[in-house]
Protein backbone atom coordinates (compact mmCIF):
# COMPACT_ATOMS: atom_id res chain seq x y z
CA UNK A 1 0.00 0.00 0.00
CA UNK A 2 2.62 2.51 1.09
CA UNK A 3 4.93 1.05 -1.52
CA UNK A 4 2.41 1.81 -4.22
CA UNK A 5 1.83 5.26 -2.86
CA UNK A 6 5.51 6.09 -2.82
CA UNK A 7 6.02 4.70 -6.29
CA UNK A 8 3.10 6.77 -7.45
CA UNK A 9 4.52 9.89 -5.86
CA UNK A 10 7.90 9.30 -7.47
CA UNK A 11 6.24 8.76 -10.81
CA UNK A 12 4.09 11.85 -10.38
CA UNK A 13 7.02 14.05 -9.44
CA UNK A 14 8.85 12.85 -12.48
CA UNK A 15 5.86 13.77 -14.61
CA UNK A 16 5.86 17.19 -13.05
CA UNK A 17 9.49 17.87 -13.93
CA UNK A 18 8.82 16.58 -17.42
CA UNK A 19 5.71 18.67 -17.97
CA UNK A 20 6.28 21.88 -16.06
CA UNK A 21 8.08 23.53 -18.97
CA UNK A 22 5.06 22.91 -21.15
CA UNK A 23 2.81 24.56 -18.58
CA UNK A 24 4.94 27.66 -18.75
CA UNK A 25 4.91 27.69 -22.54
CA UNK A 26 1.14 27.37 -22.50
CA UNK A 27 0.68 29.93 -19.74
CA UNK A 28 3.18 32.49 -20.93
CA UNK A 29 2.87 32.51 -24.68
CA UNK A 30 -0.33 30.49 -25.11
CA UNK A 31 1.77 28.19 -27.23
CA UNK A 32 0.88 24.54 -27.69
CA UNK A 33 4.17 22.68 -27.93
CA UNK A 34 3.52 19.02 -28.60
CA UNK A 35 7.26 18.54 -29.11
CA UNK A 36 7.92 19.01 -25.42
CA UNK A 37 8.38 15.26 -25.04
CA UNK A 38 11.07 15.35 -27.71
CA UNK A 39 13.20 17.47 -25.39
CA UNK A 40 12.69 14.95 -22.64
CA UNK A 41 13.71 12.19 -24.99
CA UNK A 42 16.79 14.19 -25.95
CA UNK A 43 17.78 14.44 -22.29
CA UNK A 44 17.46 10.69 -21.94
CA UNK A 45 19.59 9.96 -24.98
CA UNK A 46 22.20 12.54 -24.02
CA UNK A 47 22.61 10.68 -20.74
CA UNK A 48 22.84 7.32 -22.48
CA UNK A 49 25.43 8.61 -24.90
CA UNK A 50 27.54 10.34 -22.29
CA UNK A 51 27.49 7.33 -20.01
CA UNK A 52 28.09 4.70 -22.65
CA UNK A 53 30.41 6.46 -25.06
CA UNK A 54 32.17 8.97 -22.82
CA UNK A 55 32.00 6.94 -19.64
CA UNK A 56 30.77 9.86 -17.53
CA UNK A 57 29.13 9.24 -14.20
CA UNK A 58 25.35 9.26 -13.96
CA UNK A 59 25.42 12.16 -11.52
CA UNK A 60 27.39 14.30 -13.92
CA UNK A 61 25.12 13.35 -16.78
CA UNK A 62 22.02 14.77 -15.09
CA UNK A 63 23.12 18.41 -15.14
CA UNK A 64 24.60 17.89 -18.57
CA UNK A 65 21.29 16.53 -19.86
CA UNK A 66 19.68 19.66 -18.51
CA UNK A 67 22.23 21.95 -20.15
CA UNK A 68 22.27 20.25 -23.52
CA UNK A 69 18.50 20.19 -23.89
CA UNK A 70 18.23 23.74 -22.58
CA UNK A 71 20.69 24.84 -25.23
CA UNK A 72 18.78 22.93 -27.88
CA UNK A 73 15.58 24.55 -26.63
CA UNK A 74 17.14 27.98 -26.83
CA UNK A 75 18.35 27.48 -30.37
CA UNK A 76 15.04 26.09 -31.59
CA UNK A 77 13.11 28.80 -29.83
CA UNK A 78 15.14 31.57 -31.42
CA UNK A 79 15.13 30.06 -34.89
CA UNK A 80 11.77 28.35 -35.30
CA UNK A 81 9.33 28.62 -32.40
CA UNK A 82 9.53 32.39 -32.38
CA UNK A 83 7.93 32.46 -35.82
CA UNK A 84 4.85 30.69 -34.55
CA UNK A 85 3.84 32.66 -31.49
CA UNK A 86 1.27 34.71 -33.29
CA UNK A 87 0.01 31.85 -35.43
CA UNK A 88 -3.06 29.78 -34.69
CA UNK A 89 -3.08 26.85 -32.31
CA UNK A 90 -3.54 24.58 -35.30
CA UNK A 91 -0.31 25.84 -36.84
CA UNK A 92 1.50 25.35 -33.57
CA UNK A 93 0.16 21.84 -33.27
CA UNK A 94 1.18 20.93 -36.82
CA UNK A 95 4.59 22.49 -36.47
CA UNK A 96 5.44 20.85 -33.16
CA UNK A 97 4.11 17.53 -34.43
CA UNK A 98 6.52 17.91 -37.31
CA UNK A 99 9.36 18.35 -34.83
CA UNK A 100 8.22 15.27 -32.93
CA UNK A 101 8.28 13.07 -36.00
CA UNK A 102 11.64 14.37 -37.12
CA UNK A 103 13.09 13.83 -33.67
CA UNK A 104 11.70 10.31 -33.52
CA UNK A 105 13.07 9.41 -36.92
CA UNK A 106 16.39 11.08 -36.17
CA UNK A 107 16.88 9.20 -32.92
CA UNK A 108 15.83 5.98 -34.57
CA UNK A 109 18.43 6.58 -37.27
CA UNK A 110 21.28 7.34 -34.88
CA UNK A 111 20.48 5.13 -31.91
CA UNK A 112 18.22 2.44 -33.28
CA UNK A 113 14.67 1.65 -32.28
CA UNK A 114 15.34 -0.55 -29.26
CA UNK A 115 14.79 0.24 -25.60
CA UNK A 116 17.80 1.87 -23.97
CA UNK A 117 19.01 0.67 -20.61
CA UNK A 118 20.62 3.06 -18.15
CA UNK A 119 23.19 1.53 -15.83
CA UNK A 120 22.44 3.17 -12.52
CA UNK A 121 25.29 3.59 -10.06
CA UNK A 122 25.24 0.69 -7.59
CA UNK A 123 24.27 2.85 -4.62
CA UNK A 124 21.03 3.82 -6.35
CA UNK A 125 19.93 0.24 -6.93
CA UNK A 126 18.20 -1.92 -4.37
CA UNK A 127 15.32 -1.19 -2.08
CA UNK A 128 14.90 0.47 1.24
CA UNK A 129 12.59 -0.88 3.93
CA UNK A 130 10.34 1.71 5.46
CA UNK A 131 7.59 1.07 8.03
CA UNK A 132 4.61 -0.25 6.10
CA UNK A 133 6.38 -1.05 2.85
CA UNK A 134 9.50 -0.55 0.82
CA UNK A 135 10.77 1.78 -1.82
CA UNK A 136 13.45 1.57 -4.46
CA UNK A 137 16.44 3.72 -3.59
CA UNK A 138 16.29 5.24 -7.04
CA UNK A 139 12.63 6.25 -6.56
CA UNK A 140 13.66 7.97 -3.38
CA UNK A 141 16.41 9.74 -5.29
CA UNK A 142 13.81 10.90 -7.83
CA UNK A 143 11.48 12.10 -5.11
CA UNK A 144 14.33 14.02 -3.49
CA UNK A 145 15.44 15.76 -6.67
CA UNK A 146 11.99 16.35 -8.09
CA UNK A 147 10.70 17.42 -4.70
CA UNK A 148 13.36 20.07 -4.28
CA UNK A 149 12.72 21.43 -7.76
CA UNK A 150 9.18 22.74 -7.37
CA UNK A 151 10.12 24.32 -4.06
CA UNK A 152 13.06 25.99 -5.73
CA UNK A 153 10.91 27.05 -8.65
CA UNK A 154 8.28 28.45 -6.37
CA UNK A 155 10.95 30.41 -4.52
CA UNK A 156 12.54 31.60 -7.73
CA UNK A 157 9.20 32.72 -9.06
CA UNK A 158 8.20 34.65 -5.97
CA UNK A 159 11.57 35.97 -4.81
CA UNK A 160 13.68 36.82 -7.82
CA UNK A 161 13.36 39.69 -10.24
CA UNK A 162 13.23 37.24 -13.12
CA UNK A 163 10.33 35.52 -11.41
CA UNK A 164 8.35 38.67 -10.85
CA UNK A 165 8.91 39.72 -14.45
CA UNK A 166 7.81 36.32 -15.63
CA UNK A 167 4.65 36.52 -13.56
CA UNK A 168 3.96 39.99 -14.88
CA UNK A 169 4.37 38.71 -18.41
CA UNK A 170 2.08 35.75 -17.77
CA UNK A 171 -0.59 38.05 -16.36
CA UNK A 172 -0.53 40.50 -19.19
CA UNK A 173 2.04 40.46 -21.92
CA UNK A 174 1.27 43.90 -23.24
CA UNK A 175 1.46 45.58 -19.89
CA UNK A 176 4.74 43.79 -19.21
CA UNK A 177 6.11 45.14 -22.46
CA UNK A 178 4.93 48.57 -21.48
CA UNK A 179 6.88 48.24 -18.24
CA UNK A 180 10.02 47.76 -20.28
CA UNK A 181 10.30 44.02 -19.78
CA UNK A 182 11.98 42.29 -22.70
CA UNK A 183 9.31 39.65 -23.12
CA UNK A 184 11.02 37.95 -26.05
CA UNK A 185 14.21 37.38 -24.09
CA UNK A 186 12.27 36.39 -21.01
CA UNK A 187 10.41 33.83 -22.98
CA UNK A 188 13.47 32.45 -24.73
CA UNK A 189 15.13 31.89 -21.38
CA UNK A 190 12.03 30.38 -19.88
CA UNK A 191 11.55 28.13 -22.85
CA UNK A 192 15.15 26.99 -22.60
CA UNK A 193 14.78 26.37 -18.88
CA UNK A 194 11.55 24.42 -19.39
CA UNK A 195 13.17 22.35 -22.12
CA UNK A 196 16.14 21.77 -19.84
CA UNK A 197 13.85 20.52 -17.10
CA UNK A 198 12.20 18.19 -19.57
CA UNK A 199 15.67 16.95 -20.51
CA UNK A 200 16.51 16.39 -16.87
CA UNK A 201 13.21 14.57 -16.44
CA UNK A 202 13.99 12.44 -19.44
CA UNK A 203 17.40 11.56 -18.02
CA UNK A 204 16.00 10.75 -14.60
CA UNK A 205 13.02 8.93 -16.04
CA UNK A 206 14.75 6.77 -18.60
CA UNK A 207 15.08 3.98 -16.08
CA UNK A 208 11.50 4.26 -14.81
CA UNK A 209 9.55 5.19 -17.92
CA UNK A 210 11.66 3.42 -20.50
CA UNK A 211 13.41 5.16 -23.35
CA UNK A 212 12.98 4.50 -27.05
CA UNK A 213 12.25 6.70 -30.06
CA UNK A 214 8.49 6.59 -29.46
CA UNK A 215 8.89 8.39 -26.12
CA UNK A 216 7.53 11.80 -27.23
CA UNK A 217 4.31 10.29 -28.54
CA UNK A 218 3.89 7.76 -25.76
CA UNK A 219 3.94 10.41 -23.07
CA UNK A 220 2.23 13.21 -24.96
CA UNK A 221 -1.10 12.37 -23.39
CA UNK A 222 0.39 12.56 -19.90
CA UNK A 223 1.77 16.03 -20.55
CA UNK A 224 -1.51 17.20 -21.99
CA UNK A 225 -3.41 15.88 -19.01
CA UNK A 226 -1.03 17.53 -16.55
CA UNK A 227 -1.40 20.90 -18.26
CA UNK A 228 -5.15 20.66 -18.83
CA UNK A 229 -5.93 19.37 -15.36
CA UNK A 230 -3.39 21.45 -13.50
CA UNK A 231 -3.86 24.64 -15.42
CA UNK A 232 -1.10 26.73 -16.83
CA UNK A 233 -1.09 29.68 -14.49
CA UNK A 234 0.50 28.28 -11.34
CA UNK A 235 3.25 25.87 -10.31
CA UNK A 236 1.17 24.14 -7.68
CA UNK A 237 -1.66 23.19 -10.04
CA UNK A 238 0.48 21.11 -12.38
CA UNK A 239 2.38 19.73 -9.39
CA UNK A 240 -0.69 18.28 -7.73
CA UNK A 241 -2.09 17.18 -11.06
CA UNK A 242 1.13 15.26 -11.73
CA UNK A 243 1.12 13.58 -8.33
CA UNK A 244 -2.54 12.65 -8.73
CA UNK A 245 -1.90 11.24 -12.16
CA UNK A 246 1.20 9.36 -10.98
CA UNK A 247 -0.56 7.73 -8.06
CA UNK A 248 -3.67 6.92 -10.09
CA UNK A 249 -1.61 5.35 -12.84
CA UNK A 250 0.65 3.27 -10.61
CA UNK A 251 -2.13 2.19 -8.27
CA UNK A 252 -4.46 1.42 -11.16
CA UNK A 253 -1.93 -0.74 -12.94
CA UNK A 254 -1.10 -2.55 -9.69
CA UNK A 255 -4.55 -3.19 -8.24
CA UNK A 256 -6.62 -3.67 -11.37
CA UNK A 257 -4.11 -4.67 -14.00
CA UNK A 258 -6.85 -5.61 -16.45
CA UNK A 259 -8.12 -2.06 -16.74
CA UNK A 260 -5.24 -0.18 -15.11
CA UNK A 261 -4.13 1.23 -18.42
CA UNK A 262 -7.41 3.10 -18.64
CA UNK A 263 -7.22 4.80 -15.27
CA UNK A 264 -5.55 7.96 -16.52
CA UNK A 265 -8.18 8.38 -19.21
CA UNK A 266 -10.87 7.96 -16.61
CA UNK A 267 -9.22 10.69 -14.58
CA UNK A 268 -9.15 12.83 -17.70
CA UNK A 269 -12.80 12.31 -18.54
CA UNK A 270 -14.04 12.78 -14.99
CA UNK A 271 -12.11 16.01 -14.57
CA UNK A 272 -13.40 17.29 -17.89
CA UNK A 273 -16.98 16.66 -16.98
CA UNK A 274 -16.63 17.91 -13.46
CA UNK A 275 -14.37 20.93 -13.95
CA UNK A 276 -13.92 21.59 -17.67
CA UNK A 277 -11.51 24.43 -17.01
CA UNK A 278 -9.15 22.20 -15.03
CA UNK A 279 -9.05 20.83 -11.54
CA UNK A 280 -6.58 23.24 -10.01
CA UNK A 281 -7.50 26.31 -11.96
CA UNK A 282 -8.65 29.12 -9.76
CA UNK A 283 -12.43 29.40 -9.84
CA UNK A 284 -13.71 31.61 -12.63
CA UNK A 285 -12.37 35.10 -12.43
Amino acid sequence: MLTILLDGVAYGMLLFVLAVGLCVTMGLMNFINLAHGAFAMAGGYVTILLMQRAGLSFYLCLPLAFLVTAAAGLVLERTLYVRLYDKSHLDQVLFSLGLVFMAMAGVDYVMGGNQQIIQLPPELRGRLQVPGGSIGVYRLFIIAICGVLPLGLQQALTRTRFGSRLRAAVDDRRVARGLGIDVAKLFALTFAFGSGLAGLGGALGAEVLGLDPTFPVKFMIYFLIVVSVGGATTITGPFFASILLGIADVAGKYYVPAIGGFIIYTVMVVVLIWRPAGLFVKAAR
Binding site: K87, V93, L94, L97, G98, A105, L224, S228, L272, P276
Partner: protein, 331 residues
Protein backbone atom coordinates in the same frame (compact mmCIF):
# COMPACT_ATOMS: atom_id res chain seq x y z
CA UNK B 1 -31.15 23.43 -59.94
CA UNK B 2 -31.62 27.17 -60.26
CA UNK B 3 -29.52 29.44 -62.40
CA UNK B 4 -26.24 30.76 -61.06
CA UNK B 5 -26.56 33.05 -58.08
CA UNK B 6 -25.89 36.74 -58.58
CA UNK B 7 -23.07 36.76 -56.03
CA UNK B 8 -19.85 34.79 -56.09
CA UNK B 9 -19.80 33.92 -52.44
CA UNK B 10 -23.29 32.49 -52.77
CA UNK B 11 -22.55 30.26 -55.70
CA UNK B 12 -23.17 26.75 -54.50
CA UNK B 13 -23.83 24.98 -57.79
CA UNK B 14 -21.30 22.59 -59.27
CA UNK B 15 -18.33 24.41 -60.76
CA UNK B 16 -16.49 23.42 -63.90
CA UNK B 17 -13.36 22.40 -62.03
CA UNK B 18 -15.34 20.08 -59.79
CA UNK B 19 -16.77 18.31 -62.79
CA UNK B 20 -13.36 18.09 -64.44
CA UNK B 21 -11.84 16.71 -61.26
CA UNK B 22 -14.36 13.93 -60.86
CA UNK B 23 -14.39 13.08 -64.53
CA UNK B 24 -10.62 12.75 -64.38
CA UNK B 25 -10.79 10.66 -61.23
CA UNK B 26 -13.18 8.15 -62.77
CA UNK B 27 -11.27 8.19 -66.04
CA UNK B 28 -8.22 6.98 -64.09
CA UNK B 29 -9.99 3.66 -63.62
CA UNK B 30 -9.61 3.08 -67.32
CA UNK B 31 -6.49 5.11 -68.07
CA UNK B 32 -4.23 3.74 -65.35
CA UNK B 33 -5.02 0.04 -65.08
CA UNK B 34 -1.61 -0.67 -63.56
CA UNK B 35 -1.97 1.84 -60.73
CA UNK B 36 -5.39 0.85 -59.47
CA UNK B 37 -4.10 -0.18 -56.06
CA UNK B 38 -2.61 3.26 -55.61
CA UNK B 39 -5.84 4.82 -56.81
CA UNK B 40 -7.72 2.78 -54.25
CA UNK B 41 -5.38 4.00 -51.53
CA UNK B 42 -5.76 7.60 -52.64
CA UNK B 43 -9.54 7.36 -52.55
CA UNK B 44 -9.44 5.96 -49.03
CA UNK B 45 -6.99 8.58 -47.75
CA UNK B 46 -9.06 11.26 -49.43
CA UNK B 47 -12.15 10.10 -47.60
CA UNK B 48 -10.27 10.19 -44.30
CA UNK B 49 -8.94 13.69 -45.03
CA UNK B 50 -12.36 14.86 -46.16
CA UNK B 51 -13.91 13.71 -42.91
CA UNK B 52 -11.22 15.43 -40.86
CA UNK B 53 -11.72 18.60 -42.86
CA UNK B 54 -15.35 18.72 -41.80
CA UNK B 55 -14.42 19.07 -38.14
CA UNK B 56 -11.08 20.82 -38.46
CA UNK B 57 -11.37 23.04 -41.51
CA UNK B 58 -15.02 23.88 -41.15
CA UNK B 59 -15.86 23.60 -37.46
CA UNK B 60 -12.39 24.45 -36.14
CA UNK B 61 -11.95 21.44 -33.86
CA UNK B 62 -8.29 20.43 -33.76
CA UNK B 63 -8.14 16.65 -33.42
CA UNK B 64 -5.19 14.43 -32.68
CA UNK B 65 -7.27 11.27 -32.68
CA UNK B 66 -9.22 11.02 -35.87
CA UNK B 67 -7.67 7.62 -36.51
CA UNK B 68 -9.91 6.24 -33.76
CA UNK B 69 -12.90 6.35 -36.08
CA UNK B 70 -10.89 5.11 -39.02
CA UNK B 71 -9.73 2.11 -37.01
CA UNK B 72 -13.14 1.36 -35.57
CA UNK B 73 -14.56 1.32 -39.07
CA UNK B 74 -11.77 -0.95 -40.25
CA UNK B 75 -12.26 -3.49 -37.47
CA UNK B 76 -16.02 -3.44 -37.77
CA UNK B 77 -15.96 -4.08 -41.49
CA UNK B 78 -13.12 -6.56 -41.12
CA UNK B 79 -14.91 -8.56 -38.45
CA UNK B 80 -18.13 -8.62 -40.44
CA UNK B 81 -16.30 -9.83 -43.54
CA UNK B 82 -14.50 -12.43 -41.50
CA UNK B 83 -17.44 -13.91 -39.63
CA UNK B 84 -20.25 -13.48 -42.13
CA UNK B 85 -18.52 -14.51 -45.31
CA UNK B 86 -21.32 -17.02 -45.87
CA UNK B 87 -24.07 -14.52 -45.23
CA UNK B 88 -25.34 -12.83 -48.38
CA UNK B 89 -26.57 -9.74 -46.57
CA UNK B 90 -24.29 -9.16 -43.56
CA UNK B 91 -21.31 -10.32 -45.55
CA UNK B 92 -21.83 -7.83 -48.34
CA UNK B 93 -19.20 -5.08 -48.32
CA UNK B 94 -21.76 -2.32 -48.72
CA UNK B 95 -23.66 -3.51 -45.65
CA UNK B 96 -20.36 -3.84 -43.82
CA UNK B 97 -19.55 -0.30 -44.86
CA UNK B 98 -22.84 0.93 -43.49
CA UNK B 99 -22.46 -0.88 -40.19
CA UNK B 100 -18.89 0.38 -39.87
CA UNK B 101 -20.07 3.93 -40.45
CA UNK B 102 -22.76 3.46 -37.84
CA UNK B 103 -20.34 2.07 -35.26
CA UNK B 104 -17.88 4.87 -35.80
CA UNK B 105 -20.72 7.38 -35.66
CA UNK B 106 -21.84 6.02 -32.29
CA UNK B 107 -18.35 6.41 -30.87
CA UNK B 108 -18.05 9.83 -32.46
CA UNK B 109 -21.37 10.87 -30.98
CA UNK B 110 -20.39 9.66 -27.52
CA UNK B 111 -17.02 11.39 -27.55
CA UNK B 112 -18.35 14.58 -29.13
CA UNK B 113 -19.68 15.67 -25.77
CA UNK B 114 -16.12 15.85 -24.50
CA UNK B 115 -14.90 18.14 -27.28
CA UNK B 116 -17.77 20.61 -26.94
CA UNK B 117 -16.39 22.54 -24.06
CA UNK B 118 -12.94 23.63 -23.25
CA UNK B 119 -9.95 25.05 -25.03
CA UNK B 120 -7.95 23.77 -27.94
CA UNK B 121 -5.65 22.18 -25.42
CA UNK B 122 -8.36 20.11 -23.77
CA UNK B 123 -9.64 19.13 -27.18
CA UNK B 124 -6.19 17.86 -28.13
CA UNK B 125 -6.09 15.91 -24.92
CA UNK B 126 -9.54 14.43 -25.38
CA UNK B 127 -9.19 13.47 -29.02
CA UNK B 128 -5.79 11.93 -28.40
CA UNK B 129 -7.08 10.23 -25.26
CA UNK B 130 -10.11 8.72 -26.97
CA UNK B 131 -7.92 7.34 -29.75
CA UNK B 132 -5.56 5.81 -27.21
CA UNK B 133 -8.45 4.25 -25.34
CA UNK B 134 -9.84 2.72 -28.51
CA UNK B 135 -6.42 1.42 -29.49
CA UNK B 136 -5.85 -0.04 -26.05
CA UNK B 137 -9.25 -1.76 -26.14
CA UNK B 138 -8.50 -3.22 -29.56
CA UNK B 139 -5.19 -4.43 -28.21
CA UNK B 140 -6.75 -6.04 -25.13
CA UNK B 141 -9.54 -7.76 -27.02
CA UNK B 142 -7.01 -9.78 -28.95
CA UNK B 143 -9.23 -12.84 -29.14
CA UNK B 144 -11.58 -10.77 -31.27
CA UNK B 145 -9.25 -8.36 -33.03
CA UNK B 146 -6.14 -10.48 -33.36
CA UNK B 147 -4.25 -8.01 -31.18
CA UNK B 148 -0.82 -7.04 -32.40
CA UNK B 149 -0.94 -9.60 -35.22
CA UNK B 150 -3.84 -7.83 -36.84
CA UNK B 151 -7.12 -9.24 -38.00
CA UNK B 152 -6.48 -12.17 -40.30
CA UNK B 153 -8.89 -13.97 -42.57
CA UNK B 154 -10.88 -11.01 -43.80
CA UNK B 155 -12.61 -12.37 -46.89
CA UNK B 156 -15.13 -9.91 -48.21
CA UNK B 157 -17.87 -11.15 -50.49
CA UNK B 158 -18.37 -9.57 -53.91
CA UNK B 159 -19.66 -6.01 -53.75
CA UNK B 160 -23.46 -6.07 -54.11
CA UNK B 161 -23.09 -9.80 -54.69
CA UNK B 162 -21.79 -9.13 -58.20
CA UNK B 163 -18.32 -7.56 -58.22
CA UNK B 164 -15.62 -9.87 -56.98
CA UNK B 165 -12.48 -8.18 -55.57
CA UNK B 166 -9.64 -8.86 -58.04
CA UNK B 167 -5.88 -8.88 -57.77
CA UNK B 168 -5.39 -5.75 -59.85
CA UNK B 169 -7.63 -3.68 -57.65
CA UNK B 170 -10.17 -2.89 -60.34
CA UNK B 171 -13.16 -3.60 -58.14
CA UNK B 172 -11.44 -2.12 -55.10
CA UNK B 173 -10.59 1.17 -56.78
CA UNK B 174 -14.00 1.52 -58.39
CA UNK B 175 -15.78 0.72 -55.16
CA UNK B 176 -13.67 3.13 -53.08
CA UNK B 177 -13.94 5.89 -55.63
CA UNK B 178 -17.72 5.56 -55.80
CA UNK B 179 -17.97 5.67 -52.02
CA UNK B 180 -15.67 8.69 -51.92
CA UNK B 181 -17.77 10.42 -54.53
CA UNK B 182 -20.98 9.82 -52.61
CA UNK B 183 -19.35 11.06 -49.42
CA UNK B 184 -18.10 14.12 -51.27
CA UNK B 185 -21.58 14.91 -52.55
CA UNK B 186 -22.98 14.60 -49.03
CA UNK B 187 -20.21 16.73 -47.52
CA UNK B 188 -20.62 19.25 -50.30
CA UNK B 189 -24.29 19.58 -49.61
CA UNK B 190 -23.65 19.96 -45.91
CA UNK B 191 -21.02 22.68 -46.22
CA UNK B 192 -22.84 24.70 -48.86
CA UNK B 193 -26.02 24.79 -46.82
CA UNK B 194 -26.79 27.14 -43.93
CA UNK B 195 -25.61 24.30 -41.71
CA UNK B 196 -22.10 24.56 -43.15
CA UNK B 197 -22.06 28.35 -43.02
CA UNK B 198 -23.03 27.96 -39.39
CA UNK B 199 -20.04 25.69 -38.79
CA UNK B 200 -17.69 28.26 -40.21
CA UNK B 201 -19.39 30.88 -38.10
CA UNK B 202 -18.77 28.77 -35.00
CA UNK B 203 -15.16 28.30 -36.06
CA UNK B 204 -14.62 32.02 -36.60
CA UNK B 205 -16.52 33.39 -33.64
CA UNK B 206 -18.39 31.14 -31.28
CA UNK B 207 -19.70 34.05 -29.20
CA UNK B 208 -21.35 35.67 -32.20
CA UNK B 209 -22.58 32.37 -33.55
CA UNK B 210 -24.47 31.88 -30.31
CA UNK B 211 -25.72 35.45 -30.43
CA UNK B 212 -27.41 34.88 -33.79
CA UNK B 213 -29.16 31.83 -32.43
CA UNK B 214 -27.02 28.97 -33.69
CA UNK B 215 -27.27 26.05 -31.27
CA UNK B 216 -23.52 25.63 -31.19
CA UNK B 217 -23.29 22.43 -29.21
CA UNK B 218 -25.89 20.62 -31.24
CA UNK B 219 -24.13 21.61 -34.46
CA UNK B 220 -20.75 20.46 -33.19
CA UNK B 221 -22.17 17.13 -32.05
CA UNK B 222 -23.80 16.66 -35.44
CA UNK B 223 -20.70 17.40 -37.49
CA UNK B 224 -18.41 15.42 -35.20
CA UNK B 225 -20.70 12.42 -35.55
CA UNK B 226 -20.89 12.77 -39.32
CA UNK B 227 -17.12 13.12 -39.61
CA UNK B 228 -16.64 10.03 -37.46
CA UNK B 229 -19.01 8.08 -39.72
CA UNK B 230 -17.11 9.11 -42.84
CA UNK B 231 -13.76 8.27 -41.25
CA UNK B 232 -15.23 4.92 -40.25
CA UNK B 233 -16.21 4.32 -43.88
CA UNK B 234 -12.65 5.11 -44.97
CA UNK B 235 -11.37 2.54 -42.50
CA UNK B 236 -13.94 0.01 -43.66
CA UNK B 237 -12.87 0.48 -47.26
CA UNK B 238 -9.25 -0.12 -46.32
CA UNK B 239 -10.07 -3.28 -44.38
CA UNK B 240 -12.29 -4.64 -47.14
CA UNK B 241 -10.01 -3.85 -50.05
CA UNK B 242 -6.78 -4.95 -48.39
CA UNK B 243 -8.47 -7.80 -46.49
CA UNK B 244 -6.72 -6.83 -43.31
CA UNK B 245 -7.15 -4.67 -40.24
CA UNK B 246 -4.44 -3.88 -37.74
CA UNK B 247 -3.68 -1.79 -34.69
CA UNK B 248 -1.68 0.72 -36.66
CA UNK B 249 -4.90 1.84 -38.35
CA UNK B 250 -5.70 3.35 -34.95
CA UNK B 251 -2.27 4.77 -34.45
CA UNK B 252 -1.40 8.31 -33.56
CA UNK B 253 0.70 8.48 -36.68
CA UNK B 254 -2.40 7.81 -38.76
CA UNK B 255 -4.12 10.81 -37.19
CA UNK B 256 -1.06 12.92 -37.87
CA UNK B 257 -0.97 11.77 -41.47
CA UNK B 258 -4.57 12.80 -41.94
CA UNK B 259 -3.61 16.22 -40.60
CA UNK B 260 -0.70 16.36 -43.02
CA UNK B 261 -2.97 15.59 -45.97
CA UNK B 262 -5.18 18.47 -44.97
CA UNK B 263 -2.28 20.87 -44.63
CA UNK B 264 -0.91 19.81 -47.98
CA UNK B 265 -4.23 20.44 -49.67
CA UNK B 266 -5.53 23.26 -47.51
CA UNK B 267 -8.14 22.95 -44.76
CA UNK B 268 -11.62 24.44 -44.90
CA UNK B 269 -12.06 23.55 -48.52
CA UNK B 270 -13.40 20.18 -49.62
CA UNK B 271 -10.84 19.87 -52.38
CA UNK B 272 -8.05 20.43 -49.90
CA UNK B 273 -8.43 16.97 -48.48
CA UNK B 274 -8.72 15.37 -51.91
CA UNK B 275 -5.67 17.07 -53.40
CA UNK B 276 -3.72 16.55 -50.19
CA UNK B 277 -4.50 12.84 -50.26
CA UNK B 278 -3.27 12.54 -53.84
CA UNK B 279 0.05 14.23 -53.09
CA UNK B 280 0.39 12.37 -49.82
CA UNK B 281 -0.31 8.95 -51.27
CA UNK B 282 2.09 9.43 -54.16
CA UNK B 283 4.84 10.81 -51.89
CA UNK B 284 4.22 7.97 -49.49
CA UNK B 285 4.48 5.48 -52.32
CA UNK B 286 7.72 6.94 -53.64
CA UNK B 287 9.46 7.69 -50.34
CA UNK B 288 8.51 4.41 -48.74
CA UNK B 289 10.17 2.73 -51.67
CA UNK B 290 13.42 4.61 -51.00
CA UNK B 291 13.60 4.76 -47.22
CA UNK B 292 10.74 2.81 -45.76
CA UNK B 293 12.02 3.28 -42.24
CA UNK B 294 12.37 7.03 -42.25
CA UNK B 295 8.98 7.93 -43.57
CA UNK B 296 8.37 9.63 -40.24
CA UNK B 297 11.19 12.02 -40.95
CA UNK B 298 9.63 13.20 -44.19
CA UNK B 299 6.24 13.38 -42.55
CA UNK B 300 7.67 15.71 -39.90
CA UNK B 301 9.70 17.80 -42.29
CA UNK B 302 6.77 18.38 -44.60
CA UNK B 303 4.58 19.46 -41.69
CA UNK B 304 7.14 22.04 -40.59
CA UNK B 305 7.79 23.37 -44.08
CA UNK B 306 4.11 23.60 -44.90
CA UNK B 307 3.30 25.44 -41.71
CA UNK B 308 6.15 27.88 -42.11
CA UNK B 309 5.95 28.55 -45.81
CA UNK B 310 2.74 27.32 -47.42
CA UNK B 311 -0.04 27.53 -44.92
CA UNK B 312 -2.84 27.76 -47.48
CA UNK B 313 -1.82 24.45 -49.02
CA UNK B 314 -2.45 23.54 -52.62
CA UNK B 315 -5.93 25.01 -52.76
CA UNK B 316 -4.57 28.25 -51.34
CA UNK B 317 -1.93 28.26 -54.04
CA UNK B 318 -4.45 27.56 -56.78
CA UNK B 319 -6.68 30.33 -55.52
CA UNK B 320 -3.73 32.71 -55.57
CA UNK B 321 -2.94 31.76 -59.15
CA UNK B 322 -6.57 32.09 -60.11
CA UNK B 323 -6.65 35.60 -58.68
CA UNK B 324 -3.57 36.50 -60.68
CA UNK B 325 -5.28 35.41 -63.83
CA UNK B 326 -8.63 36.96 -63.00
CA UNK B 327 -8.02 39.81 -60.56
CA UNK B 328 -11.71 40.67 -60.26
CA UNK B 329 -12.48 37.18 -59.00
CA UNK B 330 -13.08 37.20 -55.24
CA UNK B 331 -12.64 34.19 -52.84
Amino acid sequence: MRGPARFRSMQTGWRWYEIVFWAAAFAMLVLAPSRLLLLNEIAIFALLALSLDLILGFAGIVSLGHAAFFGVGAYTAGLLAKHFSEHALLGDPTIGLGIAALTAAIIGFASSFLVLRGSDLTRLMVTLGVALIVQEIANRLDWITGGADGLQGVLPRPVLGAFEFDLYGRTAATYSLVVLFIAFVVARQVVHAPFGLGLKAIRDNRLRAEAIGIPVNRRLIAIYTLAAALAGMAGALLAQTTQFASLDMLDFQRSAEALLMLVIGGAGNLFGGLLGAIVFAIAHDVLKGITAQYWQFWLGLSLIILVLFARGGLTGLLRLLYRRVRPEAAP
